[in-house]
Symmetry: D2
Subunit: 358 residues, 4 copies
Amino acid sequence: MSQSTMQELRAQVDTINLQILELLNKRAKLASEIGKFQEEMGTTFYDPEREAFMLTNLELNNKGPFSNETIKALFREIFRASMALEEKQARAKIKVQRQTDDQRTIITLPDGTQLGNGDFTVISGPCAVESMEMMDETAAALAERGVKILRGMAYKPRTSPYDFQGMGEPGLQIARQVANKYNMFITSEIMDQSQISMMMDYVDIFWIGARNMQNSFLLKAMGRVNRPVILKRGLSATLEEFLYAAEYIVSSGNPNVILIERGIRTFEKWTRNTLDIGGVAVLKLETHLPVVVDISHSAGRRDIAKPLARVAKASGADGLMVEVHPNPPVAMSDAKQQLTIPEFHALMDEITDRQAAY
Amino acid sequence: MSQSTMQELRAQVDTINLQILELLNKRAKLASEIGKFQEEMGTTFYDPEREAFMLTNLELNNKGPFSNETIKALFREIFRASMALEEKQARAKIKVQRQTDDQRTIITLPDGTQLGNGDFTVISGPCAVESMEMMDETAAALAERGVKILRGMAYKPRTSPYDFQGMGEPGLQIARQVANKYNMFITSEIMDQSQISMMMDYVDIFWIGARNMQNSFLLKAMGRVNRPVILKRGLSATLEEFLYAAEYIVSSGNPNVILIERGIRTFEKWTRNTLDIGGVAVLKLETHLPVVVDISHSAGRRDIAKPLARVAKASGADGLMVEVHPNPPVAMSDAKQQLTIPEFHALMDEITDRQAAY
Amino acid sequence: MSQSTMQELRAQVDTINLQILELLNKRAKLASEIGKFQEEMGTTFYDPEREAFMLTNLELNNKGPFSNETIKALFREIFRASMALEEKQARAKIKVQRQTDDQRTIITLPDGTQLGNGDFTVISGPCAVESMEMMDETAAALAERGVKILRGMAYKPRTSPYDFQGMGEPGLQIARQVANKYNMFITSEIMDQSQISMMMDYVDIFWIGARNMQNSFLLKAMGRVNRPVILKRGLSATLEEFLYAAEYIVSSGNPNVILIERGIRTFEKWTRNTLDIGGVAVLKLETHLPVVVDISHSAGRRDIAKPLARVAKASGADGLMVEVHPNPPVAMSDAKQQLTIPEFHALMDEITDRQAAY
Amino acid sequence: MSQSTMQELRAQVDTINLQILELLNKRAKLASEIGKFQEEMGTTFYDPEREAFMLTNLELNNKGPFSNETIKALFREIFRASMALEEKQARAKIKVQRQTDDQRTIITLPDGTQLGNGDFTVISGPCAVESMEMMDETAAALAERGVKILRGMAYKPRTSPYDFQGMGEPGLQIARQVANKYNMFITSEIMDQSQISMMMDYVDIFWIGARNMQNSFLLKAMGRVNRPVILKRGLSATLEEFLYAAEYIVSSGNPNVILIERGIRTFEKWTRNTLDIGGVAVLKLETHLPVVVDISHSAGRRDIAKPLARVAKASGADGLMVEVHPNPPVAMSDAKQQLTIPEFHALMDEITDRQAAY
């Protein structure tokens, strides 16, 4: 055959392409009408029996050269595209999804302090409340550098039941007193919905830990409180699961959710976890919620705190979380990763200088 | 120098080894006495300030050639060994730890059915209760093959808040009715401690899902019910974390815990998770609790159910868990991995034949 | 709207489905003709500029409701399906893919010993050749139990350049002598194609280690030798990558490839690697090549060798590989995982008894 | 007992601590002398039979309360510490290890261009050489922004043997010509040591890909060429393995090694790999070699190239690597991750502005 025949064949393909295009869009419109029906009837878009019927029908009518398998694979893509279209129309995607480039959720605290407004916020404090003295000493140093959100952890989720589980309510009392003294806000981990009413007396920002990221009862309960919620990514949660966990809270009524990337579990042993900084960049594209980088748990070692703080800032995140303790070697948990107070000051110098320079 | 000098040097090392040995044991005895003191006074064995003092003292007195860092590392090992010794003496290790080769926890159900006695138990049922008809049809088939423990899942922890979350209490009512009809026992997932009293009316064996494996409040609450508990390994939990999660339940008072390995999260894409069969073998060494293999979630595909069932049995596990549904393609969840009823019968033939052959 | 209207809408969708089906197949025939053209002209099926043109043309003509992005995604699937069809017609899928349920590659060694014929083969020997004495002692024990394939490793890929790298050619000489004495076959790792001609004098089965699984030059070179090749799965290779690595060898002319699953790298620390037994089951579905389970490297500990040997057999694998050493604690590598000779005998008892029982 | 007795017990422990300290250092001196002996005799420090003897001797003399297991574990730590000391004295650790805070390897190219001197270097070019036109167009844009090191990849390691494997030597000729035209240097992947002499005609900086990171024959061969070598981290290599791979090259004679972090394989699906930015920070502490961040393969998507470029710079890395192609959608490989030329300019603006600001 000649080159001209090749041209002709290609022209025929082009025509078929446009015919398929037209049919696909026509099909999408019909699917959309069916979808509206289903919505009125309260059924879901996904109807596996109908899909099974359509696929069987296609198989019966397929004369090749495409195999039944290929045809079914292609139509499954078409079904999925239709379903995606219907879901989008019905719900305009999930609530935590960013719809426009400049959409952002800004968390405003009672004194007007904001998180997620484009500034870079530092959240800090010890791993756990251990005593009034250490909380006071830490908070004084943090307040000096303008930190407004103080870790006041009184319930610690620990691997072993024999490890220190936190001071409980007395720890919250200490945290509250110290926060009041230095005009700071307390964020503290809640581990069960039964704690909500008690904690409301002490806590400004609820905190859901990595181990509870998919505790949907707790997430939904957090959707019903009128305080902001910090949600940590699970130890091996995908970004998609992370966003859906946030969606549990937001769809239950509380729009003020802050996401924390805290490193994921991998095979690497020189860091405690692997900080997923690419994930932070993707989150900033996908969601309008503020994203904070936990540079303590992700590294598990204090000697790389400075570069990680710079990295957090450069990534476009809305802030960082770092653990600070007056005497880390004797801390009751996370001894290797908490910064000393002088190390904290050095870290603040590092990111503040650079902040100025941007 | 000559070979004889080498011999002399080695003899000197041998002498020093024995001197260190003697001192280590002498030190351990003293530490043990101090430990008894602390126990009486109600303080814990771990005293970080005392450790910090001892390490500093060693640093001040170290003249090398070992660096301070090495000396501190070696002494930290010695401290840890002492502490382990004290804990062992006080508590004889953790409760779920197997102490002797033939120690085993046997779960006995009301009708005398046992799990963990050396037989191979099959736990089965659909992913979730969807209707009376499908539960009845499934249970009838399972009962025919001697299955006694029926999945009656009415609360489904789902990634998205918009996915099917289970039928709730009406699902439990269906499950209970069907179980009564076929003389079976219901196992059903509990997601929050607030559900306990309601679920006590329907459920014979509580089930804690992978996402709640480290929900310590729920674990401790399960330690206070007098029903057996199935505990699933978290999506990326280490075996150590898994055993400590079980320890939360057992140390809170409930010795009847069944562990389920359900595959861990890895990079591999041709299976939904990676079944950690080596982990099952290690668990059987480390703990006296029964261990069951979930061949449905670990694979996420039904076409390897038969080899995985054989593997589960060969591994020394106490049983397997497999999802069965009358019509998997229309199931509201886990459509790809649930077996049809004929596939279930074929699977039972496979492991029953082999059982006979062992 | 009424239910009847819903039926009508669905009927319209069904009609469109069949129209799209017809157009897809018509398109496939045209693409196939174009493909033949290209083949004659010596060009490849994949023509990115033509694809770019077609996609642009579709974008220009798309009036929605599908977004341009969705349309392009769907058509990329169609292009890929067409291309796959052309490639299939030209090459009938990849060579290692199993085409029928009973297709199997059987490796036959010079004395008629077979691997992959449905029996369960044991491959064994020390991690590395260290001396004539230890090789002889090991081989004697293995031969007694009918093992025919002996590890004779003389080049060890090690993490550190300062670790023991193997004895080199003198090690191969020892291995050959011992194998001749006991009528065994030597399998030995090749690390670079420059070693082929030298190793041909000593080695019956070439061995490609996990670190070289994607060394395509070595794979292609192994495709040109007329000896069987054992290919180990890479430390973090997907099953798909593993099969394509085998395809490099087979498509270069050597059909006699044996796959070894040796555990993948995960976060779990109680085993050296995580044995992917589900992967073995999937491989047995996907490929006709023999699959062997390495129970030494996957576990990294000898105390679970027995259950893993049973598991390997139950999985449907064609054999297992286990390291045996006369005195593991002084071995120059892999000290923790090599079996002693009495442990090896116990393991053989375990799987031979069960073999009889099947 | 009284508090005073507790004080006495602690004083006794303190005394024993110092006695153990003295013995440990005395032991270390003896071990060091033995080590010198062994060095003279050409044997290695590690003598497993001697260790086995010492451990048995300790077991025989152990009267408790420490178990034999604990005693052996503690002495194994002591042996390891001694051995580490000897190795350090003999070799001052491994060559790639940073000895002082300001030690850095600076790579100097023929025209005086440096990498690793504290500046931030951009390495760029298309995934593969596809034609003269696209190389010229790309190089022109890169040269305009001061890029000196051009990707000129002619051999592509691909998963499938049927994927595009690169243009081979003709591709190198194109790359060389283009580099000469724009006064750039070519870096190109070598896949087998047989290619060295041919590639010496075209290539300024050899490149070892992720799949060959532990190909020790190739690494050692690269140790014998007098050109710099870029070494990519393996898909699932630990940082320790990565440094040891570099040590293979450096210990074979070539000190000019550049490390590239390119993301590791995890369960996360929204990025192709997970950029281990914490690992980069750790590498900068541990080694004096330059470290470069590959923002293309780590993300696998171009929409987060800007934040990742900022992150790379903030991490303290010596540069970044980014793929650029005149028309990514039609690229023969890595279509989703290569930047267009306008995107490349935007990226350069991003990091150059910030460079100025630092």
